[in-house]
Amino acid sequence: MKHVISAIVQNEPGVLAHVAGMFAARGYNIDSLVVGRTEDENLSRMTIVVVGDDRILEQVRKQLEKLITTVRVRDFKDIDYVERDLLLLRVHAPADKRPEIVALVDLFRGRIVDVSKSSVMIEMAGPEAKLEAFIDLVKPYGIRELARTGVIAMQRGKTNSEKDEK
């Protein structure tokens, strides 16, 4: 079972080592880990996808909170959130196959960002499941190279009706 956790950490050297080391030492499996800046220059956001049951998720959250450089931890279990993963993919695309591929990219609302004689590079953002479905579909054409950023996530704003209830 995959869980998305987001941690706000101090933007200092060595913080990534603390987080990554904790995961390794406690034997938790990370599916992806993304670090990036936030609106506050002193803080970074780490978005971590972990694999495990609820009990593991709970321990991961507590162990993350225990790290001195971690300011805040949120797990997205039972929370309405938006997740995005960014994909760059270069696929074998000779002239005769290219229209099919372009159509597929359009269907998935991706973009072609580079074209060469025999291949095209595709950029696509979306939830993990969408990217995986796309990858499956282009696999038969021959994937040359693939890079993904890993998942970032953010909680959805409260809808008006929810606000009223509060």
Partner: protein, 658 residues
């Protein structure tokens, strides 16, 4: 590339082999002929297989027979003089830590900050990367203790902290100095001991270049510290030192390491530095617990017919022994403690069940298994305490009082968690505790106590248990006792008779052999005038006995009892019980400890007969100065009762009274 097999008799790993087979075959393939090492529970299967075949591999224990000369005593005398001389400087140079820091260099900032933190004693070993700090030390009122090995320094600082409640301070140089403190940091980390370690680092510009005596110390120590820092600029140094002490002593305490490049200690501050801690993510849970949770817990305890208090080192760390005793006595609640919890509750109290767990008393283990309400205070359900988790306290509601939220429901699913400081929570809980009639439960416990007392056979050779029991009697159960790790440690836990907190100084979580000798010295530094005794085994003592020289140099009158069975006894016991008496790598040749002790400049005696025990202990206690008592004990004595690893807590092997 496939490597060609050099020898035809080496077999490729096959289906059906276990991990040990594969490991040994791989070693053979690599032409390993000799291995050096030290046994322990986690490698017993490998050792056992070595006993059988080993495909040409022989095992030698790491320690060669030692030869010492006694010619060092003159230099000790000289250095002692120098240290005495330094006391004069101390009184003259007391500096005001709050004074301006602008214009001072890093080393001066370092000493000023340490004084501001109330540091009186620090332990360590000098070296190139910390020379500026040591130079400044000459002007500092802080007492510096030069150890013989950095590991010894960490255990001394650790024991100083355990016995006094203050923060232990260690300093070591870069590279090998820093890697030598890793075991000490891990020991303190597992037992939540407040400690701050400073290491020198190569010049900032050389970091990452594999410079002389460089090691990635923050990398190496990250998993064994509560937190660590690398100082990058002299203007951060003061703030980081403050943060380090704050983190070490608050919340669930632990060791913190500060790595300081040598140029940061030389550089001068051109302006006043910002000393305000910047720890937005550090919110230690101290103070009182949630009132509602405490009410629920108290109601649960009051409703219980068969309650047990299960008390760990957290009660000692929080200074909650008095509150705990009050709660236990008011509710007539039986109390069992972990190894680190010993002394939190007076063992002569009728409510005491003594220690629980693998080598706990049978009555404590039965009580935990039969109880209907288990109240854990400052303990963390370690596997040596619980045995088989799935069969642990099967009928009990579990209340867990702990300062560390990540301890809650980590090993055992908890019914009522209460997060906060044990002292505050127990004080909040005390007025809510009632004392319903539990005479049936207490009678049941008395019956267990009568049926399964801690016992040993007192005849023939000297029995280690009887030495410890006698020591308890002669010292009125009032000494500070350090231990190594192994059988002697368990016997000490079982037979000394603990009365007060901070009385036992022992490595629980990590189980660090070699802890006892330096620990006794560190505790002696923190408790001048008190009797401090190291109850040690021959294996543990041999690992770090060189620190006796430190005790001699600083005239610290710690005592060392070496219970010598010429075996690595605990491992041998496992081999006897579970590996068909194949004593692979556990026979342990010992030197004449008395000769070594005398060579070091300490007093010494050796006994081999039961009738000598009381007199020898008295001689040791009365001796003015450090003293090593070498006791040759029954060689194959075992620690009982014993819960084999992975068995349920009440599935015990009892003393085999032959």
């Amino acid at each position: 590339m496939r490597r060609t097999r050099k020898q035809s008799n080496i077999r490729a790993p096959q289906a059906g082999w276990d991990g040990t087979d594969v490991l040994l075959a791989c070693l053979a393939e690599e032409n390993v002929e000799v291995m050096f090492g030290f046994p322990g529970a986690a490698i017993l299967p490998v050792l056992d297989r070595l006993w059988f075949h080993a495909e040409g591999i022989t095992n030698q224990t790491r320690r060669k027979r030692l030869a010492f000369s006694g010619a060092l005593s003159t230099c000790y005398a000289n250095s002692t003089e120098r240290i005495c001389g330094r006391n004069d400087i101390m009184s003259k140079t007391k500096t005001d830590a709050a004074a301006s820091l602008a214009g001072t260099n890093g080393a001066q900032v370092f000493h000023r900050m340490l004084q501001a933190e109330g540091v009186e004693t620090m332990f360590g070993f000098p070296g190139g990367a910390v020379l500026p700090i040591f130079d400044e030390l000459f002007e500092s009122p802080i007492q510096f203790v030069l150890t013989r090995h950095e590991q010894g320094a960490t255990h001394m600082a650790d024991a100083y902290a355990r016995s006094t409640g203050k923060v232990g301070v260690v300093i070591a140089t870069s590279g090998p100095g820093a890697t030598n403190i890793v075991t000490g940091l891990a020991t303190a980390n597992m037992d939540s001991i407040p400690m701050v370690a400073f290491t020198g680092q190569v010049k900032s510009t050389l970091i990452g270049n594999d410079a002389f005596q460089e090691a990635d110390v923050t990398g190496v120590t990250r998993p064994v510290t509560k937190h660590n820092f690398l100082v990058r600029d002299v203007k951060d140094l003061g703030r980081i030192v403050r943060e380090a002490f704050h983190i070490a002593r608050t919340g669930r305490p632990g060791p913190v390491l500060v790595d300081i490049p040598v140029d940061c200690t030389v550089a001068k501050l051109d302006s006043e530095p910002d000393l305000e801690p910047n720890l937005p993510g550090y919110k230690p849970r101290g103070g009182i617990g949630n009132e509602r949770q405490i009410r629920i817990a108290a109601d649960m305890i009051n409703a219980a017919r068969r309650p047990v208090l299960y008390v760990g080192g957290g009660v000692i760390l929080s200074g909650a022994a008095e509150e705990l005793t009050a709660v236990a006595r008011k509710g007539k609640l039986p109390v069992t403690t972990t190894l680190l919890g010993l002394g939190a509750f007076d063992e002569s109290d009728p409510l005491s069940l003594k220690m629980l767990g693998m080598h706990g008393t049978a009555y404590a283990n039965h009580a935990v298994q039969q109880c209907d309400c288990l109240v854990s205070v400052g303990a963390r359900f370690d596997d040596r305490v619980t045995g088989d988790l799935s069969k642990f306290a099967p009928n009990a509601k579990i209340i867990h009082i702990d300062i560390d939220p990540s301890s809650i429901s980590k090993n055992v699913e908890v019914d009522v968690p209460v997060v906060g400081d044990a002292k505050a929570i127990l004080a909040q809980m005390l007025p809510m505790i009632e004392c319903p009639d539990r005479s049936a439960w207490l009678a049941q416990i008395d019956e267990w106590k009568k049926k399964f007392p801690l016992t040993y056979k007192a005849d023939g050779d000297i029995r280690p248990q009887e030495v410890i029991e006698k020591l308890g009697e002669l010292t009125k159960h009032d000494a500070i006792v350090a231990t190594g790790v192994g059988q002697h440690q368990m016997w000490a836990a079982q037979f000394y008779g603990w009365k007060k907190p901070r009385q036992i100084i022992t490595s629980g979580g990590l189980g660090t052999m070699g802890f006892g000798c330096p620990a006794a010295i560190g505790a002696q530094f923190g408790n001048p005038g008190k009797l401090v005794v190291d109850i040690d085994g021959d294996g543990s003592f041999t690992m770090t006995m060189v620190e006796v020289i430190t005790a001699v140099q600083y005239n610290q009158p710690a005592k060392f009892i070496v219970l010598d069975n010429e075996y690595l006894g605990m491992v041998r016991q496992w081999q006897e019980l579970f590996y068909g008496k194949r004593y692979s790598a556990t026979p342990h040749a010992c030197p004449e400890f008395t000769e070594i002790a005398k060579g070091f400049g300490a007093g010494a005696a050796k006994i081999t007969d039961r009738r000598q025990v009381a007199d020898a202990l008295n001689e040791m206690i009365r001796y003015d100065g450090p003293f090593v008592l070498h006791v040759c004990v029954a060689r194959e004595e075992n620690v009982f009762p014993m819960v084999a690893a992975g068995k349920a807590l009440d599935d015990m092997i009892h003393s085999q009274l032959i």
